[in-house]
C-alpha cells in the first residue's frame, strides 16, 4: 500500500513538473536569447553604443532635469525622496514591471512614475507617450543599463506572467496571428526586408529611427497589433502590463540597454 501510494505520489509529482516543461518546449532557450541589438547592422549598433551619437541620450538629459525639478502640491522633486538617481535607481528598471501591493496588480515603470506623482508629489499624472513621461522613464531606466533583467522572482507576479503568456500565444486580428508565431517560432527569418527579432524589451523607452523620436513599449505593442490587424489594447488595459511583464520575464538575464536605438 505504502509503496503504491509513494509511486502514485511520484507520478503525480512527475505529472506536475512535466506539464510546465511541455508547455515551455517552444520557448527560446536561455543560451539562444538575443537582443534586437544583435539583429541590427554595424552602423546602428555604433549609434546606440556612442552616448554622443545616440539621440535617446537627449531625452535622458531631459529626464535628469525632470528628476530634480520640484512639482505638484507637495513641492517635492523625485530627488527629494530618492536622492541621486545613479545610486538610488540603479537596477530598479531591471525589475519592472513589478507587483504593486496597493492595487494587487503588476505596474510598469511608467505607471510607477505616475503613481509616485499622484501619491507623493500631489501632481497630475503625465499622459502616456508624453515627452515628459518618456524622458523620465528613460532617465530612470538608463540607471540600470548593463544590468540583467530580473523579472519574475516575486511569486505574486506568477499569475500575471501566465496571463501575459496567454495573450502572447493567442491568435488574434484579421490575419489570425499570435505574437509567438513570429517571435518564438520564426525569429531570425526574413519578413519582407526585415529580420524578425525575438521581441525582447531590453531597451525601452527606445529611439526608433522610423518614429524620429523616443517611444515606449506600449507604442511598439500597438504597432505590432495594428500590423496583425488586431485591435490595439487601450493604454490602461490590464493585458498591456501582463504582456509587458511576460516579455520582460521571457527576456530575463539579457542586459538593459536603455536608451536603445532601433531602425
Amino acid at each position: 500500500m505504502t509503496a503504491a501510494a509513494a509511486l502514485l505520489a511520484r507520478l503525480a509529482w512527475f505529472g506536475l513538473t512535466l506539464a510546465p516543461l511541455a508547455a515551455a518546449a517552444a520557448d527560446i532557450p536561455a543560451g539562444e536569447r538575443r537582443s534586437g541589438y544583435d539583429f541590427m547592422g554595424r552602423e546602428l549598433r555604433a549609434m546606440q553604443d556612442d552616448d554622443a551619437a545616440n539621440p535617446g541620450m537627449l531625452s535622458v538629459l531631459d529626464g535628469e532635469a525632470l528628476w530634480n525639478r520640484a512639482d505638484g502640491d507637495a513641492g517635492k522633486s523625485c530627488a527629494d525622496c530618492h536622492g541621486a538617481a545613479p545610486s538610488g535607481m540603479s537596477g530598479v528598471a531591471a525589475r519592472y514591471p513589478a507587483f504593486d501591493p496597493a492595487s494587487g496588480r503588476p505596474v510598469d515603470l511608467e505607471q510607477r512614475i505616475n503613481l509616485c506623482r499622484s501619491q507623493h508629489q500631489g501632481a497630475a499624472p503625465f499622459a502616456f507617450e508624453s515627452r515628459e513621461l518618456l524622458a523620465l522613464t528613460a532617465y530612470v531606466a538608463h540607471q540600470s543599463k548593463g544590468r540583467p533583467i530580473a523579472v519574475g522572482d516575486d511569486p505574486r507576479t506568477e499569475p500575471f506572467i501566465a496571463a501575459g503568456r496567454a495573450v502572447f500565444e493567442r491568435r488574434q486580428g484579421q490575419l489570425n496571428l499570435s505574437c509567438a508565431q513570429c517571435h518564438d517560432d520564426n525569429w531570425g527569418r526574413q519578413l519582407a526586408g526585415a529580420t524578425i527579432p525575438q521581441a525582447h524589451p531590453t531597451g525601452y523607452p527606445l529611439y526608433r529611427l522610423e518614429w524620429q523620436g523616443l517611444g515606449s513599449l506600449r507604442r511598439r505593442l500597438r504597432n505590432c497589433l495594428v500590423g496583425m490587424r488586431a485591435e490595439p489594447y487601450p493604454d490602461v488595459a490590464p493585458e498591456i502590463v501582463e504582456l509587458e511583464l511576460y516579455l520582460a520575464w521571457r527576456a530575463r538575464g539579457l542586459p538593459v540597454e536603455t536608451p536603445a536605438v532601433r531602425p
Binding site: D50, D51, A52, A53, P55, M57, L58, S59, L61, D62, A65, R131, A135, L209, Q212, G213
Partner: protein, 107 residues
C-alpha cells in the same frame, strides 16, 4: 523644454592632430510637407544653419534642408593647432537659436 545638445570634443590633443567633433541637438525638423489629422498643413520648422567657430574664426558650417531627420547629428574633423574654445551655433525657423561652447587643450 529647451533644446538639448550633446557635444563630443576631445579634452586634449597633440599639435597637428586631426580630431573628430560630434554634435547632436534635439529638434523636430518638421518638413513643412506633412499635414495634420485635420488636413491642415504643419508649418515648416527646421534648423537651417549650423556653424562651428574656433576662437571666433569659422572652421565648419552646414546648410540644413527639410530632408534631414529629426535631432540632427553632425560630425566633422578639424586639425588641432592651438588651445582654445569651440563655439557651436544652430539657427533656424521661428527664431530658433542655440549656442554652446567646448574647450580643447593642445600640447
Amino acid at each position: 523644454m529647451t533644446a538639448r545638445t550633446l557635444i563630443s570634443v576631445p579634452a586634449g590633443a597633440k599639435r597637428g592632430e586631426v580630431v573628430e567633433i560630434k554634435t547632436l541637438i534635439s529638434h523636430p525638423m518638421e518638413t513643412g510637407f506633412r499635414v495634420g489629422t485635420n488636413g491642415t498643413p504643419i508649418p515648416r520648422d527646421i534648423i537651417t544653419r549650423f556653424t562651428c567657430r574656433f576662437n571666433g574664426e569659422e572652421v565648419f558650417s552646414a546648410e540644413l534642408s527639410p530632408a534631414i531627420a529629426a535631432n540632427p547629428f553632425i560630425s566633422f574633423f578639424v586639425t588641432a593647432s592651438e588651445s582654445g574654445t569651440f563655439g557651436f551655433e544652430w539657427t533656424g525657423d521661428n527664431g530658433f537659436s542655440v549656442s554652446e561652447t567646448a574647450a580643447i587643450t593642445v600640447e
